[in-house]
Amino acid sequence: MILPVDLLPLFEWFEDTSVGVVIRESLWLFPVIECFHLLALAMIGGNILVVDLRLLGLGMRGQTAAALARSMHPWLVGGLAAMVATGVPMFLSEAIKCYYSPPFWYKMGFFVLALAFTFTVRKRFTAKALADRIPIQGKLIALVSLGLWFTVGFSGRWIAFY
């Protein structure tokens, strides 16, 4: 991993935080937090899918993408908050392993991209998507969104393997 600054001392500090130590020394704490991480994954994944499928002209076609995105928004934000609230403690418990794990860095990179894309480009587009038919840029936005979030999830799972 080529980084402009040496982040290892920072990751060592993460690993030494009391939250990290408590989770690392517990047999069941990490698995329990992970379960809630997975439940939140199902929630935000479904949330993003419902809106992206609509942008592709699939799924809930009876509603406009704008209406769907608006009513799903609190659940998306809540799910993301749960993801971060469960993801951060798990990270703290194995920060040094993450530092040396390529999937971790991919996940973080794509997570930042996915977040930025979702709350700028995608949000701006869906807010105005009041028509029944979605123009081609809407379909592109849906595909990029699905691709970005899929990569976040995929590389997240692979932190456990590498």
Partner: protein, 185 residues
């Protein structure tokens, strides 16, 4: 305690014991089969199957929890219930099929250990219960959905089915994740 338990086992019908023995031997035959060994010993295939199983949660559980939340009155309240369920149904089914195939492969990679694991057993029971809950919902209150489709008042039975489904599937996910730990090996 142990002797009482073994006495109980001893007194159980011979038929019961035969069934238990034959199930165990089926699992052992499965475990020794070529596909089982191939999945177990693969470097890339096993993690890919596992990743597929986990990420398909978004498709399967994402869709079912969307309409469960609608039934519970917590999301998409302006959309008729029948539209949420019917439009998302094919996607949930697609997700379920991928879940069963990938989950079946994971099971096949180590059937003896899986079947021995309490979390796996609870998970299977919960899946059956969730299936019964969905079946009852579709056969009863969802049959006259036109009557309450767009009203603010969701019938108690429909609301209960939604909440039950959310809880049962959450337990399925939790047991599925816990099963991967070697606490019972």
């Amino acid at each position: 305690m142990a002797s009482a338990r073994s006495a109980l086992l001893f007194e159980a019908g011979a038929g019961d014991r035969c069934l238990a023995v034959s199930l165990q031997s089926v699992l052992e035959v499965l475990e020794a089969s070529v596909p089982s060994v191939a999945i177990r010993e693969s470097i890339l295939f096993y993690p890919l199957v596992e990743t597929t199983h986990v990420l398909t949660l978004c498709l399967f559980l994402g869709m079912t929890s969307t309409w469960d939340l609608r039934l519970a009155g917590c999301a998409l309240r302006s959309v008729p219930v029948s539209q949420v369920v019917n439009r998302l149904f094919p996607w949930a089914i697609a997700g379920f099929v991928v879940m069963v195939i990938s989950g079946g492969m994971l099971f096949l990679s180590g059937p003896v250990r899986a079947a021995d694991n309490p979390f796996f057993r609870v998970k299977m029971v919960m899946i059956v219960l969730a299936g019964i809950n969905a079946f009852v919902f579709h056969r009863t209150v969802f049959r006259w959905v036109e009557e309450w489709d767009e009203s603010d008042e969701i019938p108690g039975r429909a609301r209960l089915a939604g909440i039950l489904s959310l809880v049962l599937w959450a337990v399925v996910v939790i047991c599925g994740r816990m099963q991967a730990y070697n606490w019972f090996d």
